[in-house]
């Protein structure tokens, strides 16, 4: 193991992350930090490698090179690239959502939130033996799990639909439920893959409020991939921009949107178009330098 990075205030340190698929380098030598208590946004044009980074962080891919260090508040460190897939959630406490929603469609909303609390419930059920015998300790643990689920149901405004199958919910509610389900695993880092995709303006407003609540009221930092710039610019504390698997900018939303390389990545290099999309993003065009 190399020198332990200084993790002061950093929840996730990505160092020299490289992911190759055969001859294709999807992510090349990427390094960035996610600070504790921040909402960090990972943005970039389509195909920039954002979801690949997510899959590496959450254990679905084993990175070709690089180190992913996750630090808990108590000082313990976890090297995510060495953990088996499910342990990234269970021991390192990294939770995620998916770009194409992956709920348990045939199970109720409440059941979805209980499956997320599998590990503590499994322990309480004595690996099912105590539970099978109907032990009181398990029943109390289950009641507590249901209470916790109800708390989140209230938070995402789905209390009335707790007993409906998740597949019956409207799209926006499914997105919220997936976030609540991830939060039920009690994560220190929550990774959201395009949480605002397909939401209408009112729903993305609600999403922003939910994410702020998660950041402020829980000990959870948020890392999100997003294309909806209104969400990114409004709620993130920190933005990392990827293009062709390489980091091209890293900073506060204000810094990033003024960065000519970011604008070039999104728009190509024609100056006229720069101005156009700039307006779309809601920027003043005045300070922009012509492209090199």
């Amino acid at each position: 193991m190399g020198p332990v990075p200084d993790m002061d205030g950093v929840v996730l340190a990505v160092e020299h992350l490289t992911m190759r698929f055969g001859g294709l380098t999807a992510v090349g030598d990427l390094s960035f930090d996610v600070r504790r208590g921040d909402i960090t946004a990972l943005i970039g044009p389509n195909g920039a490698g954002k979801t690949t980074v997510f899959n590496c962080i959450t254990g679905f891919y084993k990175p070709t090179e690089g180190r992913l260090t996750l630090a808990h508040a108590d000082g313990s460190r976890h090297l995510l690239e060495r953990l088996p897939n499910h342990a990234v959630n269970r021991t390192a406490r990294v939770a995620r959502t998916f770009q194409n929603i992956r709920l348990f469609q045939g199970m109720t909303v409440l059941e979805n939130l209980l499956v997320a609390q599998h590990a503590p419930l499994m322990r309480a059920s004595g690996l099912s033996v105590l539970g099978l015998l109907g032990a009181g300790s398990y029943r109390r643990a289950e009641a507590a799990a249901i209470e916790r689920a109800k708390e989140w149901l209230g938070r995402i405004d789905l209390m009335g639909r707790a007993d409906d199958p998740a597949g019956d919910l409207p799209y926006g509610a499914q997105r919220r439920l997936e976030i609540a389900r991830a939060m039920c695993t009690d994560p220190v880092l929550l990774c959201l893959d395009e949480p605002a995709a397909g939401l209408n303006p009112r729903e993305s407003g609600e999403l922003n409020a939910l994410l702020r609540h998660i950041r402020d009221a829980h000990d959870t930092s948020v890392l999100l991939i997003e294309h909806d710039m209104s969400v990114v610019m409004e709620i993130s504390d920190h933005v990392v921009v990827l293009d062709y698997g390489v980091k091209i900018a890293d900073g506060t939303p204000g810094e990033v949107r003024a960065d000519p390389r970011v604008i070039a990545a999104y728009l190509g290099v024609e100056d006229e178009e720069v101005a156009e999309v700039d307006a779309e993003v809601g920027l003043a065009v005045t300070h922009l330098e012509p492209q090199a």
Binding site: T58, G59, F60, N85, H86, A87, N89, R90, A95, R96, F98, R102, L103, F104, Q105, G106, M107, T108, L110, E111, L114, V115, A116, Q117, H118, A119, L121, M122, S125, L127, S128, G131, L132, G134, Y138, E142, I146, K150, A162, D163, D164, P165, G167, D168, R181, A182, T185
Partner: protein
């Protein structure tokens, strides 16, 4: 087939012409098939083969196919029209809302248990004596064995969504465990029963470790091969298993140590009854009933525990499970091992009932029947599996009793010979009308308010 294609056309005056044309096409295809297969019959004659033309038969078959297809299209058209006029809330459960299905299946479960508990008495009363009721009690034992196997496999296929085509392997492991332990070491049935379950679970895990990273079709093929391997080992390892000759004179079950014999120490003498060989059969009946009910009870309870929910979540979406910290390998392995254990216990019961086992009893057809019971019943539904077991095992038996059909079809008619044909028809009918099984709704494992069933349309069938 063509129906899906036709449905896209706008209904109207041309619809009837379409239907007739479609039916005509079917008749034409049937004619094409009939020409080489049916139109001439070959009989050995004095000078080689004699050809007997059978054109009237061909014409009759083609006409029948034309009419049946015509009727089918008309019925489907009417149904589509009805659906179009009343689009919402068409459910698949016998035309009932999911909640009514829950009530119905609870009722059916209790009816099943009630009937099963009283069957020996009812049969004895109806046929005028225990000895005369033997046929019915034996049939009951056979059905209950398959109910237990179906409930055991339901954990693997129905709940965890792992397609297992080699379930009979565990049945065989259980049967041979008891047979070998009892004949070699003289262990009693009641000690061997849990041991057989343990051995089968062990084999389930041995198979599971390398195999469970496979999914869907690949898993099905490997489990199929495993079933065959076990059977071939049983045939070829003659020193231990007796090979194709099997193992005979397996000790019979005792009433917790008291044998069912006519002597002083026998069951009848101890309990002050007159000796009747049927006591043993009735006892076996209640043993398998108890074992089946234990399987059911354990499954129902596990469904409400985190492990059961994890199984179902695994069936719904394995990737989401991993993202929630669920160790999918151990979760699959527990489902596999538990299903195997119940299969093993059923197998050891099979051995004690038969008194003789051979590899022939554990061929692929058995796996297929058990799987058919689970799929027919509705994956994950306990009641559905029980009903399907009665239909699949009891149905063919019933065919033996249809002697009156001889009056219709002539003396040489044996309804039993047509059972596979009828099976095939029943399967096709199921695929058309109830592709998700008899009871396709899912009952939630937990609810804040009233439990409401989930329509089968939402529930995933698993990908292995």
């Amino acid at each position: 087939m063509a129906g899906g294609l036709m449905n896209t056309k706008p209904p109207g005056g041309s619809a009837l012409a379409d239907v007739v044309r479609d039916a005509g096409l079917y008749a034409l295809v049937a004619f094409g098939l009939c020409v080489p297969l049916i139109s001439y019959r070959t009989d050995p004659g004095p000078a080689g083969l004699d050809l007997t033309p059978r054109w009237p038969l061909v014409a009759g078959l083609c006409a029948a196919i034309f009419v049946v297809r015509l009727l089918q299209r008309l019925v489907l058209m009417r149904r589509d029209a009805r659906r179009a006029s009343a689009p919402a809330q068409t459910d698949e459960t016998l035309g009932l809302a999911p909640d009514a299905a829950i009530k119905l299946s609870t009722l059916a479960l209790w009816a099943f248990i009630g009937l099963a508990l009283t069957l020996p008495f009812v049969a004895a009363l109806a046929s005028g004596g225990l000895g005369e009721a033997r046929y019915w009690i034996d049939l009951g034992i056979l059905i209950l064995t398959y109910v237990m196997l179906g409930w055991g496999l339901n954990i693997v296929v129905g709940l965890a969504g792992l397609l297992d085509l080699g379930y009979v392997a565990f049945y065989a492991v259980g049967a041979y465990s008891y047979a070998l332990l009892a004949t070699t070491f003289g262990l009693s049935f009641w000690i061997c029963l849990p041991l057989a379950g343990l051995f089968a679970a062990l084999w389930g895990m041995l198979l599971g470790f390398p195999v469970l990273r496979l999914r869907g079709d690949y898993l099905a093929i490997v489990t199929l091969a495993f079933g065959e391997i076990i059977r071939l080992v049983l045939i070829n390892w003659v020193d231990v298993t007796g090979g194709g000759a099997g193992i005979s004179s397996i000790p019979r079950a005792t009433f917790f140590g008291i044998p069912f014999t006519a002597g002083e120490e026998g069951f009848a003498a101890r309990f002050g009854l007159t000796f009747d060989s049927m006591h043993r059969v009735v006892f076996l009946y209640y043993v398998i009933l108890a074992l089946a009910l234990i399987t059911n009870l354990v499954t129902l309870r596990l469904r409400r525990l985190p492990i059961g929910r994890a199984w179902e979540a695994l069936r719904e979406d394995e990737i989401a499970c991993r993202s929630l910290g669920i160790n999918t390998t151990t979760t699959k392995l527990t489902a596999f091992a538990l299903g195997a254990a119940f299969g093993g216990v059923a197998g050891s019961f099979f051995a004690v009932r038969q008194g003789f086992i051979s590899p022939e009893s554990f061929n692929f057809l058995e796996s297929a029947i058990i799987l058919a019971i689970v799929v027919l019943g509705g994956m994950g539904s306990q009641v559905g599996v029980a009903i399907a077991a009665i239909a699949m095992v009891g149905g063919p038996e019933m065919l033996r009793n249809l002697g009156f059909l001889k009056a219709v079809f002539g003396e040489g008619f044996d309804p039993n010979e047509y059972r596979l044909l009828l099976f095939g028809l029943a399967m096709v009918a199921m695929m058309v009308w109830r592709p998700r099984g008899l009871i396709s709704v899912r009952v939630p494992s937990v609810a804040l308010g009233k439990r409401r069933a989930i329509s089968g349309a939402h529930v995933s069938e698993g990908h292995g």
